[in-house]
């Protein structure tokens, strides 16, 4: 999860959404799209800023692709408006929009060479031949397709086709580049590498990218901000770390990363400390992010597995945020191990530990009696 990416960490990112004076570049205002009775997109309002790499994330059928197609103009919204760079695009046909799309299937023209595929969009603008050739050559260099210009798409590998699709969309210098599951067809290693390349290209060209993906890891890697969609609506909007650390609902908590959800009841709030009871676990949970709740209101406490400590001896303080159980299963993933702990009431919790030492002598093993504990800053209390 959220492995440190040197390119991302090294440079401080501008956060225009924090700036009250910043003017959004792409504005989606109350957009709804219905197919018959089905609301594919349900009254979505969203602002995207210039230079953002914005990720639309969600399970299949959540409306993220429809929203992207509405931005491209390939689908017309049933109601609502779309503005790009201050101009109302709602009634502008796709061939006149300053946006280009990279299709999930890449949609490369099979009868045209790599060069002609990339030049296709420029030929529509009736630019002088010399300029087209120059811009195509520039793109070929950017996506490292040198020497493959005269090949047909069926003579390319998956990764090469993906780069042709990217070059073909970028060569038009769109104000917004739309990417529909652009890396879905690539294998894991190539995908990771390509994600970094995409971020680099976006950084270098200073363009606005909107990517649709169902892969939360991909969204977190490339996205400056992301919107999680569910049933046509935005479930939560924020930076990857905001969504990961402070999910607003169980859906978001479970969709982004792994999480332990514990049913709880509200007890009390005292300043910056909130106390809830977890009747099933028979413990009290203390958190430093209080939310407004009524006494006895059903709540859920979300704790990420890597924020749970696991030990064979009980911690100094066992009064709260601590529960005992037996190790039921261990998932060894190389860098980390996931401990599935069966509590005395039969419930399961997961704790992740980094494998700093080689596990020749496993400190914790199957059937061990262990304690799981976490700090007040490790959990989030959720109402839905």
């Amino acid at each position: 999860m959220a492995t440190a990416r040197p390119v991302r960490e090294a440079r401080p990112r501008i956060e225009p959404w924090q700036d009250p004076d910043a003017v959004p570049f792409v504005r989606i205002q109350g957009v709804t799209k219905t197919f018959g009775e089905v609301y594919a997109v349900d009254n979505v309002t969203l602002d995207i800023f210039r230079g953002e790499f914005f990720a639309l994330l969600g399970p299949s059928g959540c409306g993220k692709s429809t929203l992207l197609r509405i931005l491209a103009g390939l689908d017309r919204p049933s109601s609502g408006r779309v503005l790009i760079d201050g101009q109302d695009m709602t009634d502008v046909p796709p061939w006149r929009r300053p946006v280009n799309m990279m299709f999930q299937s890449y949609a490369l023209f099979p009868h045209l060479s790599v060069r002609r595929n990339i030049a296709f969009g420029l030929e529509q603008e009736r630019l002088p031949r010399a300029e087209i050739a120059e811009r195509v050559a520039e793109m070929v260099r950017l996506v490292r397709l040198d020497g493959l210009e005269d090949r047909k798409p069926d003579q390319l590998s998956g990764g090469q086709r993906q780069r042709v699709a990217l070059a073909r969309a970028l060569v038009k210098r769109p104000k917004v580049l739309l990417l529909d599951e652009p890396l879905g067809a690539l294998d894991k290693k190539l995908r990771d590498q390509t994600q970094l390349e995409l971020v680099n290209i976006q950084d270098r060209l200073g363009l606005t990218f909107v990517i649709v993906t169902h892969d939360q890891e991909e969204a977190m890697t490339v996205g400056s901000r992301m919107a999680i969609m569910r049933e046509g609506q935005i479930a939560q909007l924020g930076t990857p770390s905001e969504l990961y650390e402070y999910p607003a609902s169980r859906f978001v908590a479970e969709f982004v990363g792994e999480v332990n959800l514990i049913e709880a009841r509200f007890s009390s709030v005292n300043g910056a400390t909130m106390r809830v009871r977890a009747p099933a676990l028979g413990i009290e949970i203390v958190t430093d992010r209080p939310i407004a709740a009524l006494p006895g209101e059903p709540l859920w406490v979300a704790v990420r597995p890597e924020k749970m400590s696991i030990a064979k001896t009980p911690p100094a303080e066992t009064g709260h945020n601590c529960v005992a159980g037996d190790v039921f299963d261990i998932e060894y993933l190389g860098d980390v191990s996931v401990y599935h702990v069966r509590l005395d009431n039969g419930l399961f919790l997961r704790a992740t530990e980094a494998n700093r030492l080689r596990l020749i002598e496993r400190p914790i093993t199957w059937e061990d009696r262990v304690w799981l504990f976490w700090g007040p800053d490790a959990s989030v209390v959720l109402k839905t």
Binding site: A72, P94, W95, M101, A107, F109, P110, G121, A169
Partner: protein, 304 residues
């Protein structure tokens, strides 16, 4: 080792597999062709059959001779008379016109079918092939009823007030073109449909996204990708249309020259079998060119 025996058996199997169609072609294509070739080189005669043998045994001064008499004059007549070459040229022109017309009618039909929801397509395909369930001859006769001066078409146009005088269509070249386009339309629709059906719809979306109006996208993406289907359809219509006999005979007029009809007249009205055979040979030679082109195009399409 039974490896060799295995190979031999395989070899025999392969020989049978290839041998049967070759034997079939030799018996029913090559042999008749040779007979026609022989006929075309023999001398016409008022006899039964109406030609003289090309091989003749005779004795002279007590010695036996085999004489081979090949009459080349028939071919000279064919090339110098003018009628036959004119008929051939007219056939090629009519077939080419009909092919273009059939393409213009068939492409929108095939495109419409390919854009229909998949569950509707089998019914549309059935509708295209339904006419084959009736005899070809009967369908051409039906067109006589539609096209004649007091036929259905003229009755309709007169009733609608579009014309005051019945149009003379039957027994003209126009009627022949209508007949050919009608009869061979499925052979144009089916290969184009089979091609269009496989197109990825996101290609057109990509073209539109890259700045093409839908019409331009159609010409730059759909048409070039449909090329193999279009070519196959054109060959499938053009080749049989050149030699078409029934349609010009029933729908065409006396002045509609087509090589198939000329051939028929030479055979049955003039009883000049050698000349008729020579016409057949000429037609075959002319058609070998598009047939070879068609085969090559099919092989290329398969390679893709």
């Amino acid at each position: 080792m039974n490896g060799k025996a295995e190979r031999d058996r395989l070899g025999l199997g392969r020989l049978v597999l290839i041998g049967v169609p070759f034997a079939w072609l030799a018996a029913f294509f090559l042999l008749p062709f040779l007979i026609v070739l022989k006929l075309s080189l023999s001398e016409p005669a008022l006899a039964q059959p109406p030609y003289l043998p090309i091989l003749e045994w005779f004795e002279e001064a007590g010695e036996l001779y085999l004489a081979i008499r090949l009459r080349v004059q028939t071919y000279l007549t064919l090339l110098t008379d003018g009628l036959y070459l004119a008929a051939l040229a007219s056939s090629l022109r009519i077939a080419a016109t009909a092919t273009v017309l059939a393409l213009l009618v068939a492409f929108p039909v095939a495109l419409g079918m390919a854009r229909c929801p998949p569950r509707v397509r089998p019914f549309l395909l059935l509708a295209v092939m339904l006419p084959f369930w009736t005899s070809f001859l009967i369908r051409v006769y039906a067109w006589m009823g539609i096209l004649k001066d007091d036929g259905l078409l003229n009755a309709l146009l007169l009733a609608l007030g579009l014309i005051d005088q019945p149009l003379v269509i039957l027994n003209t070249e126009a009627a022949v073109l209508i007949g050919i386009v009608y009869s061979y339309l499925p052979f144009m629709i089916l290969p184009i449909f089979a091609n269009l059906e496989k197109h990825d719809p996101s290609l057109l979306e990509a073209a539109v996204d890259l700045g093409c109006r839908p019409v331009v996208a159609f010409w730059r993406i759909t048409v070039p990708l449909a090329r193999p289907g279009i070519l196959a359809g054109c060959f499938l219509v053009f080749i049989p249309a050149v030699g078409e006999f029934v349609i010009p005979d029933l729908l065409g007029g006396a002045d509609t020259l087509m090589i198939g009809r000329t051939l028929w007249l030479e055979f049955f009205s003039n009883r000049d079998w050698p000349l008729a055979s020579a016409v057949a040979i000429l037609m075959l030679l002319v058609l070998v060119v598009p047939i070879v082109l068609f085969q090559r195009q099919q092989a290329l399409a398969r390679l893709r």
